[in-house]
Every structure is written in structure tokens, then in C-alpha cells.
Amino acid sequence: MKNTKSNDFGVLTAELASKIDKIIESYDNNSTKLVGILLDIQDIVPKQYIPREVSSYVSVKMNIPLSRIYDVISFYAALSDVPRADYVIQLCDSVVCKVTGNTILRDAVTELLGIKAGEATKDGKYWLEYTPCFGACDISPAMRINGKVYGHLNTFESVKAVLDQYK
């Protein structure tokens, strides 16, 4: 279970609220589409997470109990209720990437950014997490940055070249 300590009031500006309204509208205000709605909202909140006040806002707006929204957020790995960063880096930790040698990738990211899994850099730019297989086994070892997949990361230089694109 992920923690729910973050309150961070002040994130929900009028501008963000109107963007959230548009997302909910684009899903026809349909409560069965909650998972997709929360994923889209998470994309537009700075630091890629769903703050408590945003959950409350969605709860009122869609007339869904807050408890159900947290049931969804805390269950799914792709949803976060703690602030992450501008760039969310996901290292594939599955067995395929393990046998093809993802330790170089892991060590390179840790060395270059100075963070471990579940941590953000001090400037709030990078967040690192391990994730199960995202279906890029044919280019393993692989990582995702903000959803974009990079593969064949078996040297320090190749990892650095990718991270250099996210300054």
C-alpha cells in the first residue's frame, strides 16, 4: 500500500481545475472510466501525481466517494498519490531484463542521478521507480521515461545518452 501522506494544498489552481473538467467531460463524466480519467489527470498535474485535493475535486465533480477514488489510486501501480518529478523514469525489473543484464542500467541511472528507486532528485526533475515488464523484452534491458520506451541499454554510455535528452 502506498502512503497517502501528501496533502499539498495549492496545487489545484483554477486553470488546472478547468483542465480536469475537460478531461472528465471527454470521458462523458462516466464513472466507469475512472481509471482512464485519473491517468489523464495525473499527466497534467505537475510532478505527475494525484494530490489529495485533486482526488477530492474529482470525487465531488463525478459524485464518486473519495474512498473509491483512493481504492483505485492505491491499487494501480501507474497511479501515484505522492509527488514524483518532471521526468518519471521506470526501469524494467522483470525477469527478462534481469537475465539480459539490467544491473548496468540500474547502476548507471543511480550514479548519474544519485537517486534510488522511490526517490526524486532534489531539483524535482527526475523520479526513479522499478516496474514490472512493459513489453519491450525484444530490446531488453529497457526503461521508460514519461512513457517513452528506450531499449538496448547495456552500457553506461547508452544510458547517459538517453538521460541527456531529458535535461
Binding site: 472510466k33 522483470s94 525477469v95 539480459t100 514490472p132 523484452c137 531488453s140 521508460r144 517513452k148
Partner: protein
């Protein structure tokens, strides 16, 4: 490479998947047109004749599944395309979705027509979010051309397709869990009965098929079932898209006829293990699949032959591991995966995985207690028999088969007998 074929994948790289015009120019939607001129019973007959088994991993006979779905009473049914391809070492559906999305839509329309459904839902895993725009576009263009929507091509059949997103939960590949997720909740499996074919999504009769299964349906209707039956072996005809990865020189998704041996797949198609390393083991069908030892390398890749040696096709994943990885480290990685992915609903899976993980950790460190192996096998069998859903039932396949094939790695010198027997 010449051992691969192209039947399901025949359209790959032949057209622009973002353009329905391009798809039509290579004969797209022929299958839908043909299907709409047939009766539901005729299509079911073809599906049965093809002997295609579900390609998500459960290998349930597709013709039978469609016949059952068609027989369920109700004038509002649902077809779900399971595109939650979550098994590690499985990425064949990704290729279909990205290279031939229209063929998938055709398969859904045909399935919907056959069973009498009004709506189709694609449940796309979050990890494939980048494919959303392409699929959305394919749905939109098909609507505009009336291959979807009201009264399709004047046939009187109305069908709509909706795209839903997963959010990173392996368990949502299980049918009833997937349905919970589409209904906007956390993903935990439902109790059966009622079976989802009778009461599934929104309490409606529901047919769930894998991406590849639906793509085959299109290919079979379009080209004729006889064409499909030309491939493979008499006992196990047809083709399969495999996802070959791990320690092979040429990893990738390949369409093969059933009946190639694992050796042909791993060495001729995959190029063998890199840098002169020895093959240590292979795992078939993703993390929930069993592992095999090099002694089984000449087994033909068919449902029947693999079953004889206690292996299975599962999702079609083939993970090759060479001598750089210890068996126990491999098992630990699988165990970590299931600890992460168990939804926690039922005790055998939630607690079983946790307790077995502790034992696996001790084996990794070389400090197992005297009865650890016996305990792990007992717990694993309890999970297999008592877990609430397929995740818990299959989570220990790798461990149990590893103990069978590599007893020495678990400090067991006496090979005699398999773990299932030992547990009873």
C-alpha cells in the same frame, strides 16, 4: 528466419496502420463483409474447425467459447478484447496492435456479430498507452466508413467499440478482474459463478478474447480455414505468434507454424545464446509458465507435445536463459514479480507468495533451513489448488518445475519423483 510464416501477421508492414484507405487497398474488411453474409452458426463452425485455442494463455477452444457465448440468452451482450498483455516476455499483441489494428477491430466485429453483442471493449494495458491514438483513430475511421456503428454495411447489425485503459496491474489480465477495472474499480477477481459469459461486464453476458485470437479469427475468415489448416501438424494445425527473448541473439515476435522444435525456435530463429554461453533453462508462457531444461530442447512446439513433458504454450512467451543466471536467482525474480502483482484478495496467494519469498531468499543466500524445500512445495501446491484466481494458481509454476528439473540447485540430490507427488 525462413522457418517463420506469415498468416496472422500477413499485413504487418504492408499498409499504413493509421489509414483505413491504406488498409482497404490491401483487401481490408473482406473478412467482415464475408462474415456478415454468413450465419452465426456457420462462423462458429469455422472457428471450431480451425481448432484455434485462446491465445492469452488459457488455451480454451475458441469455437467452443463462441458457441457458448452465442447460446447465452440476451439481446445485449459484450465482447471484450483483452489487450492487457502483462506476462513478462510477451509482446506479440503489441505488434498486432501497432502494425495491424484494423485486423483486430475486424475480429471484434466478427465476434460481436457471431455471439450477438452490441458493444465491444478493448482493455489496453497502461504500458501500451502510446498505441491509444492509433487504435482510437482506427475505431473512428471504421465508424466513418460504417464498418462500425449503426446498421453496419446495411446488414442490420449494430456494433460499437470502446477503448479503455489499464493502469499497471498484471492481475487485470484475468477476465473478471479486467471487468472490474473497466467498471472503474480496483482490480480484484470476482467469484464464479456467475461466469462472465452469463454475467460479466455491467452484468451483461460477456465474451473475452485475446488480441491474437481475434486477429486469427479475421485471418481465418478472410483466407478460408483450409489455408490456416495447411500450417502446423495434423494434431496441432495452424500458426502462433511467439515472443522470443532473453539470452538469444535475435529476440523478437515471430509467427511460426506449430510443430517446430524448441531447438529450431531458439537456435534457428533466435540465433542461439550469445557469446558462446550454454543454455541453462527456458520458460514458456510468461512468469506464470513452467520452466524446462535443455534436455527438452527437441520437443515440438505444440500443445500436445509440450503437455507430455509437463510444459505449456501459455501466452506464447519463450524466455531463454543462459548459464550466467543461477536457477534460484531466476526464481527469486519471478517470486518478486508475484509479490508485487498479487492483488491481496485471497489468503493462499497473498500469504503463500510472501512465505515462499522468504524461503526463496534463504536459498538465494545459501542458508536454507532443513525443511524449507518441503514447506515451499507444500505452500506452492496449496496456492495451486486453493487460490481464488489464475494468478495465484499459476504463480508457483516456475518454482515447482524448477525443483523438478534442477533438484540439485535446491540441495536435493535424490531426483526421483516430481514435486506434485511429493506434496501429497
Amino acid at each position: 528466419m525462413s522457418k517463420t510464416v506469415s498468416f496472422i501477421t500477413e499485413n504487418f508492414d504492408k499498409y499504413d496502420p493509421s489509414s483505413i484507405e491504406s488498409y482497404l487497398s490491401i483487401g481490408g474488411f473482406t473478412a467482415v463483409k464475408k462474415a456478415l453474409s454468413m450465419s452465426s452458426a456457420e462462423i462458429i463452425e469455422i472457428a471450431k474447425k480451425s481448432s484455434v485455442k485462446g491465445r492469452g494463455g488459457a488455451a480454451y477452444d475458441t469455437g467452443r467459447k463462441w458457441a457458448q457465448a452465442a447460446a447465452v440468452p440476451g439481446n445485449d451482450k459484450v465482447v471484450i478484447c483483452n489487450a492487457d498483455e502483462g506476462e513478462p516476455c510477451t509482446f506479440k499483441d503489441r505488434n498486432i496492435l501497432s502494425k495491424d489494428p484494423f485486423r483486430l477491430l475486424e475480429g471484434m466485429i466478427i465476434a460481436g456479430y457471431t455471439v450477438g453483442a452490441k458493444n465491444g471493449y478493448i482493455y489496453l494495458r497502461e504500458e501500451y498507452r502510446h498505441l491509444r491514438p492509433l487504435i482510437k483513430n482506427a475505431i473512428q475511421q471504421s465508424l466513418e466508413k460504417n464498418f462500425l456503428g449503426e446498421n453496419i454495411l446495411g446488414s442490420g447489425f449494430t456494433f460499437h467499440i470502446h477503448l479503455y485503459s489499464g493502469a499497471g496491474a498484471y492481475v487485470c489480465g484475468e477476465g473478471s478482474t479486467l471487468i472490474e477495472s473497466i467498471e472503474g474499480r480496483s482490480g480484484r477477481p470476482r467469484i464464479k459463478p456467475p461466469f462472465i459469459k452469463e454475467r460479466g461486464l455491467f452484468q451483461l453476458p460477456t465474451l473475452v478474447n485475446n488480441v491474437e485470437t481475434l486477429a486469427i479469427a479475421t485471418a481465418v475468415i478472410q483466407n478460408g480455414v483450409e489455408e490456416y489448416l495447411k500450417y502446423g501438424t495434423p494434431e496441432c494445425p495452424g500458426t502462433k505468434i511467439i515472443s522470443l527473448a532473453g539470452n538469444v541473439k535475435c529476440p523478437g515476435a515471430y509467427e511460426i507454424p506449430f510443430g517446430l522444435t524448441l531447438r529450431e525456435i531458439i537456435y534457428d530463429i533466435g540465433g542461439g545464446t550469445p557469446d558462446g554461453h550454454e543454455l541453462k533453462l527456458f520458460q514458456l508462457g510468461g512468469a506464470s509458465g513452467k520452466i524446462g531444461s535443455p534436455a527438452l530442447i527437441d520437443t515440438p512446439y505444440t500443445y500436445e507435445d509440450l503437455r507430455k513433458v509437463n510444459l505449456g504454450i501459455g501466452s506464447g512467451g519463450i524466455l531463454v536463459v543462459d548459464d550466467r543466471t543461477r536457477v534460484i536467482d531466476f526464481i527469486k525474480s519471478i517470486q518478486d514479480f508475484f509479490i508485487h502483482e498479487s492483488c491481496g484478495k485471497c489468503t493462499p496467494c497473498r500469504e503463500g507468495n510472501r512465505q515462499i519469498a522468504k524461503i526463496v531468499d534463504r536459498f538465494v543466500q545459501g542458508t536454507p533451513k532443513p525443511d524449507d524445500l518441503e514447506t515451499a512445495v507444500r505452500f506452492a501446491n496449496i496456492m495451486k489448488n486453493c487460490a481464488f484466481c489464475g494468478l495465484g494458481e499459476t504463480a508457483q509454476s516456475a518454482l515447482l518445475s524448477a525443483i523438478d528439473h534442477f533438484p540439485e540447485e535446491f540441495g536435493k540430490t535424490n531426483v526421483g519423483g516430481n514435486t506434485e507427488v511429493a506434496a501429497k
